[in-house]
């Protein structure tokens, strides 16, 4: 090699750099105002509405499929440009109106006449029935939800009265029926489209619907490149007025530091996801010029889960002691930075029937020590499991660890990935863990049955079993008298608080950081945003 070619080799690096620098001026090219650029860290695992999905799958479905009815949103006082859903308020979507029969045991929906699928076929009562039949019978997750929550076990109970009238005939009135109908899992699918892609092994076309959108919504999926981006474009000839944003670009950004820098640099419009940004980073972006922070109290519960089937947490006094030892006064400001509400009840504070005055627990380490002595139990080594990537949980666990050690526990914090954590939890393998739960249906009994009923094997993470409470839940589940529902909810909360089933931590706030010119952002019960009403200015 002579000197010239040697220099060539070493100059290559410089050439790469120089050529790249030549591209510089393009960076600040004005972004198309009708395009919304969002950063998140999720892919689409499946688009089948009936399935349980990753956030990426849910958000895409929520924007590309219409449902029979929707949760109605109202402006949030003091937060111009922001809206949220209200308890027991719905708005027409595919159904223009609805009514109840037989004291509410039957729900009747009148379907709009002007809505068409992209194929040109009409959206009618047959299509709506197909979607519910499919939910009940296809391998998804609605086949578990529909029977247990609205007492429908046979497709015959989904009735087409005429081409534009659809009815659900439940065994008895169900207070949760309207919410269940609203879930994006019950999105309306074009039956002919689905049937065209069905096979003998897959009669409900799950394989096809996993990767394709088979319905109508304000947006359609035009690009799905996992690990890169998902692009939605507004649907031509949509039955409602066209949305402001013509394109939604959801960028995959796996690193949180990058997401913060992108916001600060205004290279993206907002960050979404669960959690998307840690409270600390949200706080650091408050007051950043050109950005705004939106946060509203939400129903997601976070608690220190004690396994009631394992000593020493089978001892109620130990559980009470733990509740007195949780340093919430340090956790709220230093972990949540104010984006949360201290937990006072096993029921979320925005849920009907909630009482914030029943709980006696507050940080009192002397009382906690006293209770441990009274319990007769001997605290020893214990593992506290948290999930990788749950920043608030990791941080809270460090604060809690220290206090529990004052009670005589020797706490080892164990980090597990989501799936491993869930698997251990279901088998009862965690003694202590940090758990969270969000009830899509904002109803105390929906929440209580999943978290505390003996038979809820997969979600009752505390392994709490109390026949009295079980009976109460069974009776109240389908109680329609709102007063009775609320009254019984108080009794249930009292039982759970006295038994100190959960170590009370906090209810999350729902936070989003975005460019200052964005408005029309809506927060619904299921937390998945729809971009239909979003706009600039």
């Amino acid at each position: 090699m002579d000197r010239r070619s040697f220099l060539k080799v070493s100059a290559t690096g410089a050439v790469v750099g120089a050529a790249a620098t030549a591209a510089l001026p393009r960076r600040s090219q004005a972004q198309d105002p009708k395009t919304l650029v969002v950063a998140w860290d999720t892919d689409i695992d499946t688009l089948d509405p009936a399935f349980f999905k990753a956030v990426g799958g849910y958000v895409t479905v929520a924007n590309c499929y219409d449902t029979v009815i929707g949760w109605k949103v109202r402006p949030i006082p003091g937060k111009p440009g922001f809206f949220r859903s209200q308890p027991a308020e719905w708005e027409p979507m595919i159904a223009e109106s609805w009514s109840k029969e037989k004291d509410g045991a039957t729900l009747v929906f009148k379907i709009r006449r002007n809505v068409k699928f992209p194929s040109g076929r009409p959206v009618n009562a047959h299509a709506v029935k197909y979607c519910f039949d499919r939910g009940l019978q296809s391998p998804g997750y609605m086949r578990l939800v529909i029977p247990s929550l609205i007492q429908v076990s046979s497709p015959d109970q989904f009735e087409v009265r005429d081409d534009y009238t659809f009815a659900i005939n439940m065994k008895a009135p169900s207070p949760m029926a309207m919410d269940v109908v609203t879930l994006s899992n019950n999105a309306i699918i074009d039956p002919d489209e689905a049937k065209a892609h069905a096979t003998k092994d897959d009669p409900w076309a799950s394989e096809w619907l996993k990767r394709n959108i088979g319905g109508v919504g304000p947006y359609r999926l035009v690009k799905n490149e996992p690990g890169v981006e998902i692009v939605l474009e507004s649907t031509k000839g949509y039955w409602r007025p066209a949305p402001y944003f013509e394109r939604i670009v959801l960028k995959f950004v796996p690193n949180e530091t990058d997401r913060v820098l992108l916001l600060k640099k205004k290279a993206i419009d907002m960050v979404v996801g669960r959690p998307g940004l840690s409270p600390k980073n949200v706080k650091s972006l408050e007051g950043e010029p050109g950005l705004k922070v939106f946060n509203v109290p939400d129903t997601t519960c976070h608690w220190l889960c004690m396994n009631a089937s394992k000593p020493p947490f089978d001892n109620v006094k130990v559980r009470q002691a733990v509740n007195y030892a949780i340093p919430l006064q340090a956790i709220m400001p230093n972990v949540l930075y104010g984006y949360g509400t201290p937990m006072k009840s096993p029921v979320p504070h925005l849920t009907p029937g909630y009482s914030g005055t029943l709980s006696p627990y507050k940080y009192d380490i002397e009382k906690a020590k006293q209770l441990v002595r009274e319990s007769g139990a001997t605290p020893g080594p214990v593992e506290l499991a948290v999930r990788v990537g749950y920043t608030t949980h990791e941080q809270a666990s460090v604060w809690i660890q220290r206090e529990l050690e004052k009670l005589g526990f020797k706490v080892a914090i164990v980090k597990e990935t989501d799936a491993a954590f869930r698997q251990t939890a279901i088998k009862g393998g965690h003694a202590l863990s940090l758990e969270s739960f969000q009830s899509w249906v904002n109803d105390p009994w929906y929440h209580l049955v999943f978290n505390f009923h003996t038979k809820s094997k997969f979600t009752n993470a505390s392994f709490y079993s109390n026949p009295v409470l079980d009976k109460l839940i069974d009776e109240a589940m389908h109680e329609t008298d709102l007063k009775k529902r609320a009254g019984n909810a108080l009794v249930a909360q009292k039982i759970l608080i006295d038994d100190a089933v959960w170590g009370f931590l906090w209810y999350d706030s729902w936070t989003r950081v975005m460019k200052a010119d964005l408005t029309g952002l809506e927060k619904r019960w299921d937390t998945f945003e729809r971009y239909y009403a979003a706009r600039r200015g």
């Binding site: 949180e256 530091t257 913060v260 820098l261 600060k264 840690s278 600390k280 980073n281 650091s284 340093p327 006064q329 340090a330 400001p333 230093n334 972990v335 990788v388 990537g389 990791e394 941080q395 666990s397 460090v398 604060w399 660890q401 220290r402 080892a412 914090i413 164990v414 980090k415 597990e416 990935t417 491993a420």
Partner: protein, 278 residues
């Protein structure tokens, strides 16, 4: 003693040697020299910047970062030493067995070693930690497994050479037990390259732990450990707590750099044949 002289002579290596000495000293005396309990949260002092009270600031829990970094040196050196010792022991035994027995044993061992070496070390460590879970022991074991082949190959190579040498033949016929052959003739030839490899491996071990922490597979909190501290602190570059970003990263950099500089010079002196490889 030429090795020592060369180390002292080469200015960079000397600096590296001094740095390593300081880190070892800090690790040894951590409980006596640190001003605070490294694991004690302090709600009053969270995220304080560098000050007279906290020379390297405090973290989100109000823990003194200087105390944590000093204490962390124990964990990191322990991990590096542990992994290296484990790999060295296993590698030596396997290599000696393989080289001594020869034949099928050697074939099987070498194929297994080839298979392990077919993975870039970090990728395999990642796979193993993901499979076993990320406790300190598992991280150490994972790193050790990826390092075993280095030592095995060195020892086996020497073993084969010794076997073929006539003096070994002679020693065997005189009735020298195998153990003595190994101790007398084999080890002196192997020790220099092993020292070189082990020095470099320790730096790698510390970096591996840091990278594992970044992708969520590192050593668990609240144990103070440089890798985890750097991975956590890296996020703070955007929110202004520069001290959480800078200091743990520096601790890693200085230590790994020192291991590398010393290792490189040792290699030049002790093991000229291995120059450049690995």
């Amino acid at each position: 003693m030429t090795a020592w002289r060369r180390l002292a002579h080469d200015r960079l290596s000397f600096v590296g040697l001094v740095a390593l000495g300081l880190v070892a000293l800090a690790a040894g005396s951590a409980p006596w020299i640190t001003p605070y309990d490294p694991d004690a949260p302090d709600a009053e002092a969270t995220l304080s910047s560098v000050s007279a009270h906290h020379w390297m600031g405090t973290d989100v829990y109000g823990r003194d970062q200087l105390s944590r970094i000093v204490h962390a040196s124990r964990v990191d050196l322990l991990v590096a030493l542990g992994a290296t010792a484990m790999a060295l022991t296993a590698g030596t035994l396997i290599g000696a067995l393989s080289g001594y027995r020869g034949g099928w044993t050697d074939q099987i061992v070498m194929r297994a070693i080839d298979a392990v070496m077919a993975f870039p070390a970090f990728i395999l460590a990642m796979g193993i930690t993901a499979a076993l879970g990320n406790t300190i022991t598992n991280v150490v074991v994972a790193i050790a497994i990826t390092h075993v082949p280095i030592y095995t190959r060195v020892i086996r190579g020497e073993m084969l050479k010794v076997r073929e040498m006539e003096y070994a033949e002679a020693a065997r016929t005189v009735g020298n037990p195998v153990r003595r052959i190994v101790l007398r003739h084999l080890l002196p030839n192997c020790v220099p390259p092993l020292i070189v490899q082990a020095t470099l491996a320790m730096g790698f071990a510390i970096l591996t732990v840091a990278a594992l922490s970044f992708i969520g597979l590192g050593i668990l909190p609240p144990q103070s450990e440089w890798g985890a501290m750097t991975a956590e602190g890296a996020g703070n570059i955007v929110s202004g707590e520069w001290w959480l970003f800078v200091f743990p990263g520096l601790a890693i950099m200085v230590t790994v750099l020192a291991f590398n500089l010393v290792g490189d010079t040792l290699r030049d002196v002790l093991d000229p044949r291995m120059r450049g490889v690995r």
